[in-house]
């Protein structure tokens, strides 16, 4: 995948790398992310370009980012977060009280005051920091959702590609079975095999056809979730899929390093850290200023007909009795606990996922290298040897065709091995918060390469 082509993911990954951006940086990054929204909204021509070629996994990710409706919703969350920041940066608007009181005898008293909650004025910088954190949490959340979408698209594409290959395998197996059935019919017509033997071959052919139908359903069942992720309708004009899989390559990533890296770079962890920090600040704040919950500063004047105008400041204090604010403080402290526990749980889950995916990748790589490759080689050799036996009339044609069917069926396990590897690879890539390098010496396998 070319990073420049995936500005969204680029921005998302950029976020992953930043420690504590300044407010202007945050704004710039948010604008960058939001700019992609307009690309998404007006990306019809880019979409057409992407769809002009068979969709491989990378192209599918690009199409999803351009076209998946959920991406629009995700990016809209940024706009909401910007609104929140705007609010957070400004103190509450002052309150103006105005009263005109008439008494008998044409006496009028005019009273007005402007009041402002005391804490708002005192804690401007507190609010600014709070807003920054909230903004950052939103950004990281959005970027994480995009990376998650990328992972989901890759997995869905993989499932569909594997199902398509299995469908091709079933088509070949069905053809082999059908040939055996027709051949057996000829043998029976010549009087050389019984109806029972003929029917046995027919029965196998019917089973193969049913298997083929199941594989067709399997392909369809993986296509629809992929289309959903791509934001495409089932009858999308000109849509075609690249039916090749890239062969797994030997790789043994440093799982411990990936786990450490994930703790630093996972965007969902960063978002949760920000949420924790917000909760901590709020808790501290509410403890420190518990005695001034409703304090207000006020300036006002009072003028009565014929009297001098009285002007001066004032203040309102809420008495900390009977509510001492302990409830608020306890709630804030509890929220800190909740956020901290959530973060710890997620950190644990991430570490365990990485360990699991790393192990799965190793198993899948080993079974592919050692067994799956050998399986195809050995099956091929077995068919050659069976053909030699057939050449010398040591076995009959039906045995040869059965061997061919076994060889074809063996491809399923091979496809399983490749799919397992890529599933682990895609998961590990997401879980570690970094794009693992795709095997450089990529060799493709298509239905034509299967026996």
């Amino acid at each position: 995948m070319k990073p420049t082509e995936i500005a969204l993911l680029g921005a998302a990954l950029l976020l992953a790398g930043c420690a504590t951006p300044s407010l202007p940086q945050l704004h710039a990054q948010t604008q960058e992310l939001r700019a992609q929204r307009s690309v998404v909204a007006t990306g019809a021509s880019r979409l057409a370009t992407e769809l002009a070629q068979p969709l491989d996994a990378d192209r599918a990710v690009r199409v999803a980012l351009l076209n998946n409706p959920a991406v629009r919703a995700t990016l809209a969350q940024l706009q909401a977060a910007q609104g929140d920041l705007y609010d957070a940066l400004r103190p509450a608007n002052p309150t103006v009280d105005l009263a005109s009181l008439d008494a008998a005898g044409g006496v009028t008293r005019v009273v007005w005051s402007v009041s402002q909650p005391l804490l708002d004025l005192l804690f401007t910088s507190y609010r600014r920091r709070h807003g920054e954190l909230a903004m950052r949490e939103a950004q990281q959340h959005v970027a994480d959702q995009l990376l998650r979408l990328e992972r989901d698209v890759r997995q869905a594409w993989l499932q569909h590609a594997a199902a398509t290959l299995r469908l091709r395998v079933a088509q070949r197996a069905a053809e082999a079975a059908e040939l055996a059935a027709r051949l057996s019919q000829s043998y029976h017509a010549a009087g050389n095999i019984s109806e029972l033997q003929w029917r046995a071959e027919q029965s196998l052919a019917s089973e193969a056809q049913l298997q083929l139908a199941a594989r067709e359903a399997g392909e369809l069942n993986t296509r629809t979730p992929l289309l959903d992720l791509l934001g495409l309708k089932h009858d999308q004009q000109g849509l075609s899929f690249d039916e090749r899989l890239i062969l797994p390559a030997a790789m043994s990533p440093d799982i411990a390093a990936l786990a450490t890296q994930a703790l630093q770079q996972r965007l969902d962890l960063a978002a949760q850290s920000a949420a924790l920090e917000i909760a901590q600040r709020e808790s501290r704040h509410s403890r420190r200023w518990r005695w001034l919950p409703g304090a207000e500063l006020r300036i006002g004047s009072e003028r009565e007909t014929g009297q001098a105008t009285l002007t001066g400041p004032g203040a309102t204090l809420q008495l900390p009795l009977p509510n001492t604010g302990a409830g608020r403080i306890a709630r804030a402290a509890a929220l800190v606990e909740v956020r901290a526990a959530e973060l710890a749980a997620q950190q644990l889950a991430v570490q365990n996922r990485i360990a699991q995916d790393g192990a799965l990748l190793a198993i899948a790589g080993r079974s592919f290298d050692v067994h799956a490759r050998k399986l195809l080689e050995v099956n091929q050799r077995m068919l050659e040897l069976t053909a030699e036996q057939h050449n010398f009339m040591l076995i009959g044609s039906f045995e040869l065709l059965a061997a061919r069917r076994r060889q074809i069926d063996g491809s399923d396990l091979w496809i399983d091995a490749i799919e397992s590897w890529w599933r682990a690879f895609n998961d590990l890539s997401y879980e570690s918060g970094t794009a693992l390098p795709v095997p450089a010496t990529a060799a493709y396998v298509s239905a034509e390469d299967l026996p």
Binding site: R172, E175, A176, L179, R182, L183, S186, Y187, A189, A190, G191, N192, I193, Q197, L383, L385, A387, E388, Q389, H390, N391, F392, M393, L394, I395, G396, S397, F398, E399, L400, L401, R404
Partner: protein, 419 residues
Amino acid sequence: MKISRRNLLAAAGVAPLATRLATATAAAPAAGGPRTAVTTLNGRSLPFVVKEGVKEFHLVAGEIEHEFAPGTKIRAWGYNGSTPGPTIEAVEGDRVRILVTNNLPEHTSIHWHGILLPNGMDGVGGLTQPHIEPGETWAYEFTLRQHGTHMYHPHADEVVQLANGMMGLFIVHPRDPSIGAVDRDFAFLLHNWAVHPGTWRPDPSVMTEFDLWTFNSRVFPAIEPLVVRRGQRVRIRVGNLSMHEHPIHLHGYRLDITGGDGGRWPRAAWRTEVTEIVGVGQMRDIEFTADEPGDWALHCHKPHHTMNAMGHGIPNSVGVDTSEVDERLRAMLPGYMSTGRNGMAEHVEHTAMGHMPGPENTLPMMGGEGPFGNLEMGGMFTVVKVRDRLPDGYADPGWYQHPPGTQARRVETPAEDRK
């Protein structure tokens, strides 16, 4: 004891010497006057030394490499480097001592099949003697009180040792050379082998479904022809150490069956046959006077015994029209050829031409080429070649040249559209 390389070499080293001495034996007049030496097809007789009036032979049992015909070699067990082992030839009244060295990885013994002898010399391991352990040499010694066609084979772990090819002929000539005198005296053993296609060691577990059927452990076309000068009296000695009976059939002659397990029969007991069944464990002497020149087929009359390994119980393709699916079959199975619709001859043609490679170390089920085309034979088949003149002695004289007017001829060719 494991078979060492040295042991194998020692066993193999006996063979050339044995061949030389066998020639000498054949040329030298034996006690009682000149008699015709036995011609063991693809084999030889075992040399002996005379020690204080006793003819001393030495058999060495061991693992060997054996070739049934070019294209199929196996690891077999035999004697003095071959299967069958060399033929023991002696004369009625001889005192013989037969040393037996065991270079096999397991114990063995030798039973002298059909020979009259003291019980303790009968060679039944566990019954008449302890087994001959690996590395040991034992001596059997007895006086020959009979004449006739006999055999030797192990009587220890027989299923394995016979399946592996351990056997030999033991021929006792009459003391009176005029009894049963012939000009050519051929001998061979019938055997069956479970050498499954693609393998190179006999499978002793097989009881009935064998892959190869042999005269002296060879299959056609690797079995030597029986070369005879016209007018000669010929004897063919046949022993059967296989698991099946074999109707041995010779073309062109009425055969006198002159002897069996008990030795030579009185003239009145002879039978005239063209096919003689040789049962399991039996011997038969077949004689005729070769008065009609030509190439005469000599074979077991069970058609599957004149074939090499083939599938049994596979769907019969004769008469099956596969043209509808042939093209798709070839697309699905590169190299696929559908043969057999009109019989198997076409198949033989393809395998003979190498169009259809078979399993390694495996002979096609039928083969052999004659002067007029494929012989479509294998297994127990060879040719008795009777000639007026044999300028090269008993070397293979080639194919028979039929005198004009003595050969079947085509009297009608098919119309063009039937070709």
